[in-house]
């Protein structure tokens, strides 16, 4: 079997006395689209934040694209260049224009010359249909536009894996669609993706596998058809009842 994009073994993460991740074993294959769901506080966000080391795991092993995450700075940055991340609160840089938001990280992370980085940025911005916003500052954009710029910014680094941390939770309802559409486009392009989301429609439509977490553990994982029609665990059924209103 080919080396998976991400391999996690026995990963434990504690915040003080609170155990956020309690022995996670997870493999994500190249090109696989994973949806992570679960009640709040179940450790979904912590799990994906450990993959690019925004959170540092306390025990176990995480290997991303063949590089094991440890204390070594070079390895961490190498992994971060391969892993793009989209946040719930966008986190665009307010003092830079949309174009600079996309081009500057590319220049600094990969040493790309400005002209080339800006060309790349324009390409990604038009792919996400926000090219006309390039000269604006983030505060002038709508929530949906901000999130699409954030996706474009992450794509400018040319990562092999994309992590989404509740990308639609901070959006007004009428803007959720445009962001989900962008994510579907990425998924159809073959990107390896892990999405933390409550958008079950998106999971059903796009995911290869749905992973359900509670209390820092993976309770159940299954392809979406099985996950939604025949959930095995009682916790999963309770959670689905809440989010789907059944």
């Amino acid at each position: 079997m080919a080396e998976p994009a991400i391999r996690m073994r026995g990963v434990v993460k504690r915040f003080g006395g609170f155990t956020a991740l309690d022995g996670i074993d997870l493999d994500v294959a190249r090109g696989e689209r994973l949806v992570l769901c679960g009640p709040s506080g179940s450790g979904k966000s912590t799990l994906i934040r450990c993959i690019n080391r925004l959170d540092v795991h306390d025990e176990g092993m995480i290997v991303v694209e063949g590089v094991e995450l440890g204390d070594e700075d070079a390895a961490i940055r190498a992994v971060r260049r391969e892993v793009g991340m989209v946040f719930q609160s966008f986190n665009l840089f307010p003092h830079l224009t949309v174009l600079e938001n996309c081009a500057l990280p590319r220049m600094r992370a990969r040493g790309t010359p400005r002209a080339e980085a800006e060309a790349l940025a324009r390409e990604q911005l038009s792919r996400l249909r926000v090219a006309d916003q390039a000269a604006k500052y983030p505060d002038a954009l709508s929530g949906g536009q901000k999130q699409r710029v954030a996706i474009a910014r992450a794509l400018c680094i040319e990562p092999r894996i994309m992590l989404f941390d509740e990308p639609t939770s901070a959006l007004d309802p009428e803007m959720v669609g445009e962001v989900l559409e962008a994510m579907v486009m990425l998924a159809e392009g073959g990107m390896t993706m892990i999405c933390v989301t409550h958008e079950m429609g998106f999971a059903r439509r796009v995911a290869d596998r749905v992973v359900f977490m509670e209390g820092g553990r993976i309770i159940e994982q299954a392809p979406p058809e099985r996950f939604f029609s025949a959930p095995a665990a009682a916790q999963t059924r309770r959670f689905l009842g809440q989010v789907l209103g059944r």
Binding site: L54, R77, V83, S89, N91, F93, P94, D139, A154
Partner: protein, 362 residues
């Protein structure tokens, strides 16, 4: 039951000048009396000031005998003693050098305020050239310019030079201290906190005095440098301690998501700090920074006590010589005007920067 909405009221009449006056100044009898009294006092004060400063004033040094008779200002003292005020003890025949040096530093300050010059390399180059030009002009020793030692430097050019050097040296120190205080290594953070708290705990006077008088006893000869140099470095450390706390406050005001996003994009630490965090920290604390810079400009007058004749000390010297001694008010008004021009310029620049940033913030 459906009800028709009430008909709209007519819009309030546009306030005419007269109506505004009546509402704001003459609403009641008491208001009217206060307005009239305050207005009269204001007019009287203004008239007295104009009489003193312009109408009854003596302008020319040749007519200085008239100063004793008139009730107005004796601006003649500025003509007679202006050079002493502006140049201090600097040799008379070389005053043009001091003027030029002063203009060089002011021009450098103005240029570095322009967004076109914002960037590490550009600012560093600009200030190296500016300070180089200043020292060449003031000190001489090259191109046939006779040497003038720093003991003889004085007046406005000394004030402006000390101010610029303190801010330009102090700002990078402040950035280093602010970053060190946030460092993950407890030793580094603790050391930065200790330096900041110690320096802030000491009066500026003590620090400058120590740099001027005590340091030569403690330091080996090669490390002593020039007295002016030591004083500027000590002053810069003092400024940096305060500015560091301002920058730290600015860093704390940035949402943690900014740093996380930059790290997640694979940006190296240096770029995260200099491209993402510091620009936002400075933006967020601009009023406090301008405030600290203005305070520093005014505090330069403290170097008097260790024997430097900056503009305030030169002014005192100018009236200390008998014949003009009676006209100290005029001299201090003149000096105050000089300070005002600089400080007012700084605050207008600050206001412009804030406006510019609000535009960016959408």
């Amino acid at each position: 039951m459906a009800r028709a909405p009430a008909p709209a009221l007519p819009p309030p009449p546009a306030a005419s000048g007269l109506a505004w006056l009546r509402r704001r100044l003459f609403a009641t009898w008491f208001d009217a009396i206060v307005t009239v009294l305050a207005g009269a006092a204001l007019v009287w004060l203004l008239a007295a000031l104009i009489d003193w400063a312009f109408l009854d004033a003596v302008w020319s040094a040749e007519m200085r005998e008239r100063c004793r008779e008139t009730a107005g200002a004796c601006w003649a003292v500025i003509e007679a003693r202006g050079r002493l005020i502006l140049f201090g003890l600097y040799p008379h025949e070389a005053h043009w050098r001091s003027t030029l040096a002063c203009l060089i530093v002011v021009a450098t300050m103005v240029l570095s305020c322009l967004p076109a010059f914002w960037g590490m390399a550009r600012l560093a180059g600009l200030w190296l050239a500016g300070f180089g030009g200043f020292v060449l002009m003031m000190h001489g020793g090259l191109f046939g310019l006779p040497v003038v030692t720093t003991e003889q430097w004085g007046g406005l050019s000394l004030t402006v030079f000390i101010f610029a050097a303190v801010v330009v040296l102090g700002m990078p120190m402040a950035v280093v201290l602010a970053l060190a205080r946030r460092a993950r290594l407890p030793v580094v953070a603790g050391l930065a906190a200790l330096i900041i708290d110690t320096v802030r705990g000491l009066p500026l006077l003590t620090i400058l005095f120590a740099a001027a008088v005590v340091a030569p006893l403690a330091l080996p000869d090669w490390a002593q440098g020039d007295k002016l140099g030591r004083v500027i470095v000590a002053f810069a450390v003092f400024y940096a301690a305060y500015q560091a706390e301002i920058i730290r406050a600015g860093l704390q005001s940035i949402p943690p998501g900014q740093e996380e996003a930059a790290l997640a994009l694979g940006m190296p630490w240096r770029s995260v700090v200099f491209d993402i965090l510091l620009p936002q920290a400075f933006r967020n604390t601009l009023p406090a920074t301008i405030n600290q810079v203005v305070i520093t400009f005014k505090e330069t007058s403290i170097v008097t006590i260790i024997g430097f004749f900056e503009v305030t000390a030169s002014a005192s010297a100018a009236i200390g010589r008998g014949e003009w001694g009676a006209y100290y008010v005029e001299v201090y008004v003149f000096v105050a005007l000089i300070y005002f021009v600089f400080v007012f310029g700084l605050s207008r620049y600050g206001a412009w920067l804030e406006r510019r940033m609000r535009l960016i913030r959408g």
